[in-house]
Amino acid sequence: MSTRPSRSDGLGSLAIVAFVLSAVSLGLTFLYAPTERVEGDIQRMLYLHVPAAFTMYVGYAVVFFASFMYLLRRESRWDELAASAAEVGTVFTSMMITTGPIWAKPVWGTYWTWDARLTSAFVLWLILIGYLMLRAYGGHAEQVARYCAVLAIIGFADLPIIHYSVQWWRTLHPDAKIMTEGSPGQGLESSMMITFAVAFAAALLTFTVLLKLRLRLERQNRRLDALQRELTRPSPVVLGSTN
């Protein structure tokens, strides 16, 4: 069925590149990028937060695409990809959802507020948790694959609706628009742009490495499951042997 993945799939060297790039990004963030005038040093958190958020959306897109392909083709490799991307995506979602409040405390004076972006991020995180729970408790492997694919497709269609509803909910309130997130792009210095670019590349590369690692593990796990079932099948019990 599935071919044994070759040892030299380049994952090791890719991991090294990802690590080096992340270290470079860290260096640029603290040594190269200028201190922002209004927010001060804490603004450097955004070099982590924004790429993490972007990578989360990439993860979502991969899960959606793989789920769609799974329902279309019913090949287990698409389900393996969806399962892996959802888990790695959860790591980046968690990264975004923890660095966000830590950045917000000194800037906004509060860890959490039910602002539009925070709320929708929180909802997305909950959807992913539900997805992983369904993976864990959904029954036998083939059933889990179908159920999770349906959840991923419905969840993905929900993303824009969540975004707009939360936006309306907050901006149309009289007490809205307390604060807007430090939006990159407005009068950004070129050194900031470069730092952001490296940070994005580092995050995406880290995502790729983790995804490949997780995917390899998933495949091995499934092959082992199948092997175990073959080998530990109960020896045939014959009833009615009085015949």
Partner: protein
């Protein structure tokens, strides 16, 4: 025509079974009543307060009662091997979605009617002639909940932790619907000009259409191995 008739046959069978045991209906209404009671302790009810928090209370009661009804309803199907019996008939899997959706909508609408009336009485809501508007919003909300609920109750009932699984999957996905329903309900309760709030009703309708279509399209994948 033939399909429609078969779908209605399934709905009639479901409703007959439900009206005989009244399991989903009674448990849902009693549960909604309990939520209304508990919130009563949280917020000192008075005419002014109801305008602010009434919508939240009403929709909390409706949402949690709906989750309860969904769990009950598909559990009945599961007892005898459930949907598989229906899958052996000429009805297509997508038609089964329509049948289950209509049944769920009927039961949720009945339960919601009772809940809304209880809410109005218990919280002294000065609703006046805005009752039809409130009914429209509640019914539109129930369509959306039933559309998602049919899909996820079918999934949850076959998982190991179904009581937790259904709300865990359903509620985050229904957030836009809930926001829109709460916002338009509070506009109605506060007697604000509804023309300014019409975008919420449009959002509810869009949500209903999108998730009915997706539910219809993906239901075969849930049922068929």
């Amino acid at each position: 025509m033939r399909t429609l008739r078969a779908i209605l046959t399934v709905v009639a069978k479901d409703m007959r079974g439900e009206l005989r045991t009244k399991e989903a209906l009674t448990s849902t209404v009693v549960f909604a009543l309990l939520v209304l009671l508990v919130f009563n302790f949280g917020f000192e009810p008075g005419t002014r307060d109801v305008r602010l928090v009434g919508a939240g209370i009403l929709w909390s009661a409706l949402l949690f009662a709906a989750v309860l009804a969904m769990n009950r309803l598909l559990l009945n199907e599961r007892e005898g091997g459930g949907l598989e019996g229906l899958m052996l008939t000429p009805l297509s899997r997508a038609d089964l979605y329509v049948a289950k959706f209509i049944t769920l909508l009927c039961i949720l609408s009945l339960a919601a009617t009772v809940t809304v009336l209880l809410f109005i009485v218990l919280y002294n809501v000065p609703i006046g002639d805005r009752l039809p508007l409130l009914a429209t919003v509640v019914f539109a909300g129930m369509i959306g909940l039933s559309a998602l609920g049919t899909t996820f109750a079918t999934i949850a009932v076959r998982t190991r932790t179904r009581e937790v699984m259904l709300p865990l999957l359903l509620i985050p996905l229904s957030v836009p619907l809930l926001i829109a329903c709460v916002e338009s309900t509070s506009a109605i309760l506060a007697a604000r000009d509804f023309a300014d709030e019409a975008h919420w009703l449009r959002l509810i309708v869009a949500f209903d259409i999108v998730f009915l279509a997706l539910g219809y399209a993906t239901y075969p994948a849930i049922l068929e191995e």
